[in-house]
């Protein structure tokens, strides 16, 4: 079971990196992130985590136990 949780958190990690890289990094004239890109990545991660938390709460409310969608 911990194995499953571990796997899911690793997948979340990769998902976050992919999404925030794709949304925030578009210039490849230098090989290090500039300040703007770094700020963007950090906000993207924080927003995504807060978003996931809220979705999780709402999902549990609706989907609690084994309720049917209708």
């Amino acid at each position: 079971l911990e194995t499953v949780q571990m796997r899911d958190s690793l997948r979340l990690y990769n998902t976050l990196v992919e999404r925030c890289f794709n949304n925030c990094v578009d210039s490849f004239r230098r090989k290090t992130l500039d300040k703007t890109e770094e700020t963007c990545v950090k906000r993207c991660v924080e927003k995504f985590l807060k978003h996931t938390g809220r979705v999780s709460l709402r999902f549990q409310e609706i989907n609690g136990g084994l309720a049917t969608p209708d």
């Binding site: 999404r19 906000r43 807060k50 978003h51 979705v55 609706i62 989907n63 084994l66 969608p69 209708d70």
Partner: protein, 78 residues
């Protein structure tokens, strides 16, 4: 373990994987629909928060419609 027990474990595991998969697709879909790309700050604003709530509710309704159309009885969440 008796055969029936093993099958029950497999079913439970599949149901769990199904829910995890649904949750990650739902999360991605509502992020695309509700969260602006500008990232002006790191908080969710009021509009984003209420968009998320409605988005989750509507996604769940779509889950119900699709479940019924697929002949829902055998699907989890029915």
């Amino acid at each position: 373990m008796p055969k029936g027990g093993e099958e029950a474990v497999n079913m439970a595991q599949q149901e769990m994987e199904f829910r995890v998969d649904m949750f990650s697709r739902l999360t991605a879909a509502c992020f695309e629909k509700c969260i602006g790309r500008s990232y002006k700050d790191s908080e969710l604003n009021v509009g984003e928060n209420s968009c998320i709530d409605r988005c989750v509710a509507k996604y769940w309704q779509v889950t119900g419609i699709v479940g019924q159309m697929l002949g829902g009885a055998q699907f989890p969440g029915k």
